[in-house]
C-alpha cells in the first residue's frame, strides 16, 4: 500500500522541485524529495482550532478542525524524521525535530517560512541526536533540547554526556545555545510548567531549573516506592500539549497480591503520571488492567475521570472504577492520540497518512483526514486555537 503511494509521489517530484526553486527560502538545503507546499500563504484565522502533524516525504500539515480537512501543507527543509512537534505559545509557530533527529526548526504557520533553525551538534566532529526531548518555555522565548552527542574521532567514537541546550527562539536560522547544562540520560518527552520549571521524562520525571541546571525528581518512576508494585515500564516519545495543560505519560506495571511476590498472580496494570503545568500538581494513578498496549493516552478535558488510549484499538476508561468502558476497532495502528479543546472529538495520528476522527463520547468514527504524502511515522499531533 505504501509503495503505491510513493510511486505516485515520485511522479510529482519534478513539479515540486520547480515550484520550490521559486519559493524556497535561503540558507538551507532544499527538500529535494518533497512535494510543493499547498496554500503556503493562507494565514491562520484567529479563534479557529487547528492541528499540526508532520509526514513523509518531509512536510508539515495544518488541519482545520472545524471541518476536519487539510488547511495547508508546508514543505520542510533537509530530511524527515521523526517529525516531533511542539506548538509555541504564540499559537502560530510550530517547532519540529527533523533531519534524522539532528535539527530543530521553527516554522511560521501563516506562510510556511522557517524562522528558527538549530543544529543539535555543537562542533564539526560531533554527531548529536535529540530523542524527542525538546520543548519551549512557557512564554515561548526559550527552546530546550536534551542532546545526545557522540564525538566521531578518527578511528573511534566517544559517547559524550547528555546536555540540556537552551536556545533563544529569536536567534534565527543559525541558532546557538545561550547556555548548556548537564542533563540526565534517557530523557524523551519534556514540557515546561507555568513556574518556569522544565519537566523531563526520563528514568524518573525530573523538574529542572533551566537557569541553574539543578534538578530533582518531580514524579518518581523507575525509583517509585509503591508497596507491592514492581518498577513500571515507561516509554513516551509524544509530548502532547493538552487543552487542560496536563502533561500525561502512561506506565505499565504489576502489583503483587498481599503477602506475595509472585508475578503469576500479580495484577498487571496500566496507569498514568500527570503533571498539571499550570499548578504543578502531580499524580500517579492506575486506570485499568493491561489487556492491550497503548502508545499514547490522554484524559478528557470535559471529564478528568475519562482516560483514552490508542494503538491497535481506541479505548476509553473510567479511571476511578479502573474499568474499560468502551473500545473502537481500528483499520490500522495509530500512535498519537489528541483531543480537541472542547473534548468532543478525538484525533488519531501516526502511521500511514490518515488522521482518524472519533466522537469522544460514543467512539464512533466520524471522519478520516487523508494527508498528501506518506507515513506520519512518530510525529506528534498538536491541537491549538490560533490567537
Amino acid at each position: 500500500m505504501h509503495n503505491k503511494k510513493y510511486s505516485r509521489l515520485n511522479v510529482k517530484t519534478t513539479l515540486a522541485l520547480l515550484v520550490m526553486g521559486i519559493t524556497g527560502y535561503s540558507g538551507h538545503a532544499m527538500a529535494i524529495n518533497g512535494l510543493a507546499s499547498v496554500n503556503k500563504d493562507k494565514t491562520l484565522e484567529s479563534g479557529h482550532e487547528y492541528m499540526v502533524v508532520a509526514n513523509y516525504p518531509n512536510q508539515l500539515n495544518v488541519l482545520d478542525l472545524k471541518n476536519d480537512s487539510v488547511y495547508k501543507t508546508c514543505q520542510m527543509p533537509d530530511r524527515f524524521g521523526p517529525g516531533a512537534l511542539q506548538m509555541a505559545p504564540d499559537k502560530k509557530t510550530a517547532y519540529i525535530l527533523n533531519n534524522g533527529y539532528e535539527d530543530i526548526y521553527g516554522v511560521n504557520l501563516d506562510n510556511c517560512e522557517v524562522t528558527f533553525h538549530a543544529r543539535m551538534a555543537q562542533q564539526p566532529k560531533e554527531r548529536t541526536k535529540t530523542l524527542y526531548a525538546f520543548t519551549l518555555s512557557y512564554d515561548g522565548k526559550e527552546l530546550y533540547a536534551v542532546q545526545n552527542p557522540t564525538l566521531l574521532e578518527r578511528d573511534h567514537y566517544r559517547v559524550q554526556p547528555t546536555r540540556l541546550a537552551v536556545y533563544d527562539t529569536s536567534s534565527g536560522l543559525n541558532a546557538k545555545p545561550i547556555r548548556t547544562l548537564p542533563s540526565p540520560r534517557l530523557v524523551t518527552a519534556m514540557q515546561t510548567g507555568k513556574d518556569g520549571g522544565l519537566y523531563m521524562a526520563g528514568a524518573d520525571i525530573y523538574k529542572m531549573d533551566v537557569n541553574t541546571g539543578e534538578y530533582s525528581v518531580a514524579v518518581p518512576s523507575r525509583n517509585w516506592k509503591r508497596p507491592r508494585y514492581v518498577q513500571p515500564d515507561v516509554l513516551n516519545v509524544w509530548a502532547v500539549q493538552t487543552p487542560t495543560q496536563d502533561f500525561t505519560i502512561l506506565y505499565t506495571t504489576a502489583r503483587f497480591q498481599e503477602g506475595s511476590e509472585d508475578l503469576n498472580t500479580a495484577d498487571w496494570l496500566y496507569g498514568y503520571f500527570n503533571i498539571n503545568l499550570e499548578t504543578g500538581q502531580t499524580e500517579t494513578k492506575d486506570f485499568g488492567p493491561i489487556t492491550e498496549i497503548y502508545f499514547t493516552g490522554t484524559r478528557s478535558p470535559k471529564d478528568s475521570n475519562i482516560m483514552y488510549g490508542v494503538l491497535n484499538r481506541l479505548a476509553k476508561y473510567d479511571i476511578e472504577q479502573q474499568k474499560l468502558i468502551k473500545a473502537a476497532e481500528l483499520d490500522h495502528s495509530y500512535y498519537c492520540l489528541t483531543v480537541n479543546n472542547d473534548g468532543s472529538k478525538l484525533y488519531l495520528a501516526g502511521t500511514f497518512n490518515h488522521v482518524a476522527v472519533f466522537d469522544a463520547d460514543t467512539l464512533e468514527r466520524l471522519d478520516t483526514i487523508t494527508l498528501p504524502g506518506g507515513d506520519m511515522s512518530t510525529t506528534t499531533a498538536q491541537v491549538f486555537i490560533h490567537n
Binding site: L131, N148, H156, Y157, L235
Partner: protein, 551 residues
C-alpha cells in the same frame, strides 16, 4: 529510528559472499606455521596503507600494526562485516578483490582458534532458528538482546577495544538505551563498567589456544572425500566430494551424490580456507530442469585435515540446508553415517554405510544380520539387512573393518513423534521488497518408549527422522480468529516445508496487518496399524531487515 543504510549493507554483503571469486597470490600456504603468508601479508598491508590510514594510524611496531585493526581477532564473517561497515558507514572505497585479500589476511593473522569457535559455529552456519542460552543474564540482556550472542562470542578483544565497541554501539544507535531492557537500567554505565571487564575476561585478545593454533601446521585439504548429510524434506544423502588445490588455500570442488530417494546431488564451485581450518565454499548445483541452485558450505576442518563438518545451505534461502560431514578417503578408517540409521525389528531393509577405508568385516550389532552385499567399495557399502523379530531395541555401534563411529538403532514400534524444530520462526518476504521469504523446514522425529514402556520419559529411544504427513492449525484462539492458517503461507503435506506468504500489509486481514501468525505444525506418522502425531509451534513474522553474515 530508521537506518536505511543497513539494508544497503545487507545487499552489499549478499552480493559478495566470502568465497566468491579467486584472488591469486602466488604462494602456497599449507604446512606453513606462520599465520599469513609473506606475499599475502605484503599485499594486505599495502592495501591497508593505501585505503585505511585516512582514519587508522600505523603504529610503531614490527611486524606492522594499525590502530584498532591489529587489536582484534574475528572470524572471516566478522572481518567481512567490519570492512563492509567501513564501506557503508565511513565511506571506504575498496574493490571486492582487495576486500577479499584483507578478509583472508586478517582471518589468518587474527582469527579464532578452533576451540574458540566451538559452541558458536551455528551463527556462521546460518542456523538462525537456534535458541541461544547463556549463563549470564546480563550478557543476554546487554548484548544478545539485539543480535546473537554468538556474534560477540566470535570476537576477541582487549578491554580497550571492547570499550570502543560500547561507544560505537551507543554512538551509532543512540535509541538503543531507550529500548525495553535498556531503559530500566543505566545501560551505558553498565556496559562500560560491567560488560567491558566481563568481555575482556571471557573473550580476551590473547589466548593460549590461539597461540598454539598459530604454531600448528595447517593441512592441505585437496583430495577425494566421502560425505554424508541429511536434508529436511529430502532425507539422507551421501556421495563424493573432489577437492583440488588451486594454491593459496583456494580449491576447486566437485560434488556427486545421491539422496535416499535416488535423486542426484551434483554440483561444483570453489572454496577458500581461512585461518587454516575455516572452509567456505560457493557451489552451484543442478536442480530440476534448467534450474541451478547456489549453495554455500561453512565447514570446519579437523586439525589433522581428514574431516570436514558443518552445514551446507542454499545461498538465498539459507534456512534450507543440511548437516554435512565429510571424511578424506585413504585416511584413517572412519564410518560417518549409516543411512537410514534405524531398522524395525522383524523387518528387512537396505542400508548404506558411508565412510573411508571401509574393511570387509561388517558388524551391525546383536540381532541384525547382513543378508546380502548389494555394493561395496572402500568408501561405501550397500547392504540388505534383517533385524530379528526378537532383537532387543536399542542402538548398536556399527563397524566395518577398523572403521567405526556410527550407529544403527533397532526399534519395535514408534511410540511418539516429535516435530523438529519444536519451535521456529519463519518470515514473510518477497512481494517486491528487498528481503526474500524465510521459509520453515520440519522433520518428524520418531521415538520408542524405553524399558518403562511409557513415551515421553527419560529412557525413550530416539529412532530417527521418518516420513510424515504435514499440516498446520491455528496455534490458539487468536490465531483462529485471525485466520492465520489461511494468510501466513502453505505447508507442503509431504515434505514438511512451509512456504510463507508475501510481505507487506494485507488489506484482506484485520487492520491490514502483515501475513504474520502463530501456527501449530502437526506431523502424522504411520507405524504398523497405528497413527501417531506430534506437533510444534511456528511463528510466522515480518522480515529480518538487518541480516548480515553473523546474525
Amino acid at each position: 529510528m530508521k537506518f536505511p543504510k543497513l539494508s544497503r549493507l545487507n545487499l552489499l554483503l549478499r552480493k559478495t559472499p566470502l568465497a566468491a571469486g579467486i584472488a591469486a597470490c602466488g604462494m602456497t600456504w599449507a604446512g606453513v606455521a606462520n599465520s599469513a603468508s609473506d606475499a599475502l601479508t605484503e599485499k594486505a598491508e599495502s592495501i591497508i596503507r593505501s585505503n585505511c590510514l585516512a582514519c587508522h594510524s600505523e603504529q610503531q611496531a614490527e611486524p606492522a600494526q594499525f590502530s584498532r585493526i591489529s587489536h582484534q581477532r574475528k572470524t572471516p564473517e566478522g572481518w567481512l562485516m567490519t570492512i563492509a561497515r567501513m564501506q557503508i558507514m565511513h565511506g571506504l572505497q575498496i574493490s571486492n578483490e582487495d576486500r577479499r585479500t584483507l578478509v583472508k589476511y586478517l582471518s589468518d593473522k587474527q582469527g579464532l582458534a578452533p576451540e574458540e569457535t566451538a559452541g558458536s559455529r551455528y551463527a556462521m552456519e546460518r542456523r538462525l532458528n537456534t535458541m541461544e542460552s547463556f549463563d549470564s543474564a546480563e550478557f543476554a540482556e546487554m548484548c544478545a538482546r539485539c543480535h546473537s550472542g554468538a556474534r560477540v562470542a566470535l570476537q576477541r578483544r582487549p578491554a580497550g577495544e571492547w570499550e570502543h565497541l560500547v561507544h560505537f554501539h551507543l554512538g551509532q544507535w543512540p535509541s538503543l538505551e531507550y529500548q525495553a531492557l535498556s531503559r530500566d537500567r543505566e545501560w551505558f554505565e553498565l556496559a562500560l563498567n560491567n560488560m567491558v571487564p566481563a568481555l575482556a575476561k571471557d573473550y580476551p585478545l590473547k589466548s593460549q589456544s590461539w597461540q598454539q593454533w598459530q604454531q600448528t601446521d595447517k593441512p592441505e585439504l585437496g583430495g577425494s572425500w566421502s560425505f554424508a548429510g541429511q536434508m529436511p524434506g529430502k532425507g539422507d544423502v551421501h556421495g563424493q566430494m573432489q577437492i583440488t588445490s588451486a594454491g593459496n588455500d583456494e580449491y576447486q570442488v566437485r560434488i556427486t551424490g545421491q539422496y535416499a530417494d535416488g535423486s542426484p546431488l551434483k554440483g561444483k564451485g570453489s572454496a577458500i580456507v581461512y585461518t587454516g581450518y575455516e572452509w567456505r565454499a560457493n557451489l552451484t548445483f543442478e536442480g530440476v530442469g534448467q534450474e541451478k541452485i547456489k549453495m554455500r558450505q561453512v565447514f570446519a576442518a579437523s586439525k589433522e585435515g581428514d574431516q570436514l563438518t558443518g552445514r551446507m545451505f542454499a545461498a538465498v534461502h539459507d534456512e534450507m540446508g543440511m548437516d554435512f560431514s565429510a571424511v578424506r578417503q585413504q585416511s584413517q578408517p572412519d564410518l560417518i553415517a549409516v543411512q537410514p540409521a534405524y531398522i524395525k525389528a522383524g523387518t528387512r531393509q537396505t542400508i548404506t554405510l558411508v565412510g573411508n577405508n571401509l574393511g570387509t568385516d561388517v558388524s551391525l550389532g546383536e540381532g541384525v544380520s547382513v543378508e546380502k552385499v548389494v555394493l561395496r567399495d572402500a568408501n561405501k557399502l550397500v547392504l540388505q539387512v534383517r533385524a530379528a523379530k526378537d532383537s532387543e531395541p536399542g542402538a548398536r555401534q556399527v563397524t566395518v573393518g577398523q572403521a567405526g563411529g556410527a550407529s544403527l538403532t533397532v526399534y519395535d514400534r514408534i511410540s511418539s513423534v516429535k516435530v523438529v524444530p519444536e519451535y521456529s520462526v519463519a518470515r514473510v518476504g518477497g512481494n517486491g521488497g528487498s528481503t526474500p521469504k524465510y521459509n520453515a523446514h520440519f522433520q518428524a522425529e520418531a521415538w520408542a518408549s524405553g524399558a518403562d514402556g511409557k513415551p515421553g520419559t527419560a529412557d525413550d529411544l530416539r529412532i530417527g527422522y521418518v516420513p510424515a504427513k504435514w499440516h498446520v492449525e491455528p496455534f490458539d484462539a487468536q490465531a483462529k480468529a485471525d485466520n492465520d492458517v489461511h494468510f501466513t503461507g502453505r505447508m507442503n503435506a509431504s515434505t514438511g516445508m512451509f512456504t510463507t506468504a508475501s510481505a507487506g500489509p494485507n488489506p484482506e486481514r484485520r487492520m491490514s496487518t502483515n501475513n504474520a501468525g502463530n501456527l501449530k505444525v502437526v506431523a502424522s506418522v504411520k507405524d504398523g496399524g497405528q497413527k501417531l502425531t506430534g506437533d510444534g509451534q511456528l511463528i510466522v513474522t515480518v522480515q529480518r531487515w538487518n541480516n548480515p553474515p553473523l546474525p
